[in-house]
């Protein structure tokens, strides 16, 4: 078996060296598999938990159009979670296990979703800043070395751009509205700015796993690199809104060719990540409640399927069988 393992390692190394994709049934190092399961499932959990801060505003959206848009967006987040859970499952971790870890509070998800959505303008700031940061992070992940992850990310990125634009539009309308609406938009930006920069993860020197992830072609750019790129984008975009970013230290460094920003409160970041953010317990409780309340539906559907199994053949649904 060791000979085969060696050739597996060699085959894997060759794939990575050629910047090719690793597929589910290829041999891969345990560390690679573990890293991917952790990263993809955390990502999936973030999408699922991320539905909550926005769903909070569906009933209070200011118009039917905004309500429909917000529902579509929240539905997309559910979809993104499901694409990602599927990708993680190809690595051998059952979905039920991932769900169990999440509701038991054992799994992590993006700390950003532990902040409250206090006003309607937060829907705008989340779309523009949070989804904007997510896009910056996710576009390079479309080229992640693990095939199923990259393919899921391609699908997700296509849909995220709608999210960011609708958020920007909400802020733009508020910014051009009454003084109170303008203040509301500015306040939302002030509150979401720093947490969205922290979405890229700790500074490079404090991110020990990044190097290995980059060597494996999972990550393509470092946390600070992506954060700097994001700052460069929003510093221009905020001008269109006629609002400001709550950071007077933003500047372009000609030498490093990077955008720099003011200090971020990394202590707060680790506190929130450790479960002591403003909404952690509320988010988890809600997720657990939804899972438990849905148990009878899952059981009923499974019982119905079992009863029908005798009478419904596998071919009965696909009305276009035969050569693809």
């Amino acid at each position: 078996m060791s000979g085969e393992t060696m050739s597996g390692q060699e085959h894997f190394d060759a794939l990575i060296a050629a910047d090719a994709r690793v597929e589910p049934r290829d041999w891969m190092p345990e560390g690679y598999r573990k890293t991917l399961v952790r990263q993809i499932s955390q990502h999936a959990h973030s999408e699922i938990i991320g539905m909550q801060p926005e769903a909070n505003w569906i009933t209070r959206a200011p118009s039917l159009k905004r309500k429909a848009i917000l529902m579509a967006k929240v539905q997309d987040e559910a979809g993104h979670g499901l694409y990602l859970y599927s990708a993680a499952e190809t690595l051998g971790t059952p979905r039920d296990q991932m769900t169990a870890d999440l509701i038991a509070g054992k799994a992590r998800y993006s700390s950003i979703f532990n902040y409250p959505t206090l006003t309607w303008a937060d829907m705008g700031a989340i779309g523009w800043l949070v989804d904007g940061a997510a896009i910056c992070n996710q576009v390079p992940l479309c080229r992640a070395s693990y095939g199923p992850y990259g393919r899921a990310m391609v699908r997700i990125c296509k849909e995220e751009s709608f999210h960011q634009r609708q958020g920007f539009e909400i802020l733009l309308e508020l910014a051009n509205g009454t003084a109170a609406q303008r203040d509301m938009a500015q306040d939302a930006i002030n509150r979401w700015y720093a947490p969205s920069l922290m979405m890229f993860g700790p500074p490079d020197e404090d991110s020990p796993n990044s190097r290995q992830s980059m060597a494996w072609n999972i990550k393509r750019f470092s946390n600070d690199e992506l954060r700097s790129r994001f700052v460069g984008m929003i510093v221009e975009q905020v001008k269109v809104l006629g609002l400001t970013l709550p950071d007077t230290d933003i500047r372009y460094n000609e030498e490093t060719e990077r955008w720099e920003h003011g200090p971020l409160d990394w202590k707060e970041f680790s506190e929130v990540l450790a479960g002591r953010g403003p909404c952690n317990s509320q988010r988890l409780a809600r997720r657990r409640e939804a899972h438990e309340d849905g148990a009878w539906v899952r059981e009923a559907a499974a019982a119905y399927a079992a009863r029908q199994a005798g009478s419904v053949g596998a071919g009965a649904v696909s009305n276009e069988t035969g050569a693809a």
């Binding site: 078996m1 085969e4 393992t5 597996g8 597929e23 589910p24 049934r25 290829d26 041999w27 891969m28 345990e30 598999r33 579509a72 539905q75 997309d76 979809g79 499901l82 694409y83 599927s86 990708a87 499952e89 190809t90 690595l91 051998g92 059952p94 979905r95 039920d96 296990q97 095939g147 199923p148 393919r151 899921a152 699908r155 849909e159 899952r298 059981e299 559907a301 499974a302 119905y304 399927a305 029908q308 199994a309 419904v312 596998a314 009965a316 649904v317 696909s318 276009e320 693809a324």
Partner: protein
């Protein structure tokens, strides 16, 4: 060819029952880990582990994006039965007019080639360049050929 429930490449990694299409867009494995160490090529009957007995089965989804094109693998999902799998596939993979037709296939029904047999199984075309038009160079310059 081996059953859809074959194991991973070296048999030393925990693998999943019903692991399937190696080129799945997102999906491709079953829901229950089987004993590690099963040799590749040995059929494993997909069985859910006791703790996950109630888990819904995995389905692979294929979407025809428009008339005239093949159904293409889009991803996978869990559903209790075929009807629900089609409905869920519609909600999950065609929210933006991505398709005019859907197939769902139980992941465990997909028979995949054995990844271990890569060399042996696919080597036959090697050294057979003469199957390609580009092999024939003497006719270069002859029109409409």
């Amino acid at each position: 060819m081996t059953g859809g429930s074959t194991t991973g490449d070296d048999g030393s990694v925990p693998v999943t029952a019903g692991s399937t299409a190696p080129d799945s867009a997102t999906g491709g494995t079953g829901t229950a880990p089987t004993a590690a160490g099963t040799t590749a090529g040995q059929a494993v009957i997909p069985v859910a582990a006791p703790a996950l007995a109630a888990a819904w089965p995995l389905w692979e989804v294929f979407v025809r994006s428009s008339r005239g094109l093949s159904h293409v693998h889009a991803g996978s999902l869990h559903a209790p039965d075929a009807d629900m799998a089609v409905r869920n596939a519609r909600d999950l993979y065609t929210r933006r007019n991505e398709g005019v037709s859907l197939w769902v296939v139980p992941a465990s029904a997909i028979i995949a080639s054995d990844p271990d047999a890569k060399g042996r199984f696919f080597e036959s075309p090697q050294g057979k360049d003469y199957r390609h038009a580009t092999y024939y160079t003497k006719s270069e310059g002859v029109k409409h050929l």
